[in-house]
């Protein structure tokens, strides 16, 4: 027998939401700086325990460099808290910037379809994501 748990049925899995954000900045923002500032902002607002409970994750592979968009995951009840924590960001890497939420979806597939550009999606497909 393989040492691997079976995939949980959908009713047993935790509910998730995927929130797409756009970075508004005059200068180009690197993915590294972006992740750093997002994690710091969320940590400052909802704390370590809150971050752990909300199942927080930033999808680096879904970063849309062209439109400065990225997707992150949290639990449904924490969507507004995440929105607030990112709204409190005023600068990224000492340059003025702010975040704007584009929408919330229940699956990565929908968030890709709704908010990411076709070119990004093509790139993801080529990489097998």
């Amino acid at each position: 027998m393989k040492d691997k748990a079976k995939t949980l049925p959908s009713s047993y899995r935790e509910k998730k939401r995927y929130v797409t954000f756009e970075v508004l900045s005059d200068e180009k923002v690197s993915l590294e700086d972006l992740i750093k500032s997002v994690r710091k902002a969320v940590l400052n607002t909802i704390g370590i325990l809150g971050m752990a409970k909300t199942n927080f994750h930033i999808f680096t592979e879904l970063y849309d460099e062209k439109k400065n968009r990225f997707v992150l995951r949290c639990m449904p009840k924490d969507v507004e808290n995440i929105r607030l924590s990112l709204a409190l960001v005023t600068e990224i890497n000492e340059k003025p910037a702010c975040f704007r939420s584009l929408g919330v979806s229940g699956t990565i597939k929908t968030s890709k379809k709704k908010h990411l550009t076709q070119e990004t999606l093509m790139g993801h497909r080529q990489k097998g994501l």
Partner: protein, 237 residues
């Protein structure tokens, strides 16, 4: 289905108004109020002229508003009622807060908790605000510009303001209070503030969309009246 129209009713009127309008459109706002700090009549007339110019080519709704400070707020508000669409009061002092809540001429009480150790309003204020339809503001800039330690205190005071508003069913609104484009925030981010501080999602959304829209509609009707209480034929009452 009609899309919700979101408003930000407290953005400072300055030199980069066109940039502000562009950013507001980008952030998904349907209307903004460019607020002038009332001081003298000459500057006020220039402000009104510029608002009319901006409104002509704007993709979003531009609302005129005046921020009143100091003494004689009631008198100034009465004077300006039929000249501007919104009258805001600079809160922070209990007496000013109470006066703004009790006045029929005032539309919005800004940051009642500013510079205080308590939230600046009590049950009397919120009841009066409900009776006189004065919106109580949660100012996003107050949080944004305060350092980490003070931010907790500010959020706590705002939570208290919101709790009182919800208890007395007084109208509230979350505004950015932006001085430039970088202080501006999107419609859902502003609603997220009220939502995170204790309001339900639906009232938080309504407070930033339908409530200001209705208020602006009523005030525009008042400006178009030939005399107070007299309506032109065809106008809605």
């Amino acid at each position: 289905m009609n899309e919700r129209k979101f408003y930000d009713l407290n953005i400072s009127f300055g030199e980069n108004n066109k940039e502000i309008i562009k950013r507001a459109k980008n952030l998904g706002l349907s209307g903004i109020c460019l607020v002038h700090k009332y001081s003298e009549s000459g500057a006020f007339l220039d402000y009104i002229g510029e608002i009319l110019d901006l409104r002509e080519n704007s993709p979003i709704d531009i609302v005129s508003g005046v921020m009143l400070t100091g003494d004689n707020i009631e008198k100034k508000a009465k004077e300006l009622r039929r000249k501007v669409e919104l009258i805001l009061v600079y809160g922070g002092n209990y007496e000013t807060n109470r006066l703004a809540c009790e006045s029929d001429y005032v539309d919005l009480l800004c940051h009642p908790e500013k510079g205080r150790r308590d939230c600046g309003i009590d049950h009397v204020c919120v009841r009066e605000a409900r009776a006189h339809n004065t919106l109580i503001e949660l100012n996003f800039r107050e949080i944004l510009e305060s350092p980490a330690g003070l931010r907790i205190k500010k959020l706590n005071l705002m939570k208290e303001v919101l709790r009182l508003c919800l208890k007395a069913k007084a109208p509230f609104i979350a505004n950015s209070g932006a001085m430039d484009v970088w202080g501006m925030r999107g419609s859902r981010e502003l609603s997220a503030l009220s939502c995170s501080l204790g309001a339900q999602l639906y009232p938080a959304l309504v407070s930033n969309s339908e409530l200001p829209e209705r208020l602006i509609g009523i005030n525009r009707g008042k400006i178009n009246q030939p005399l107070s209480g007299v309506y032109l034929e065809g106008d809605e009452l």
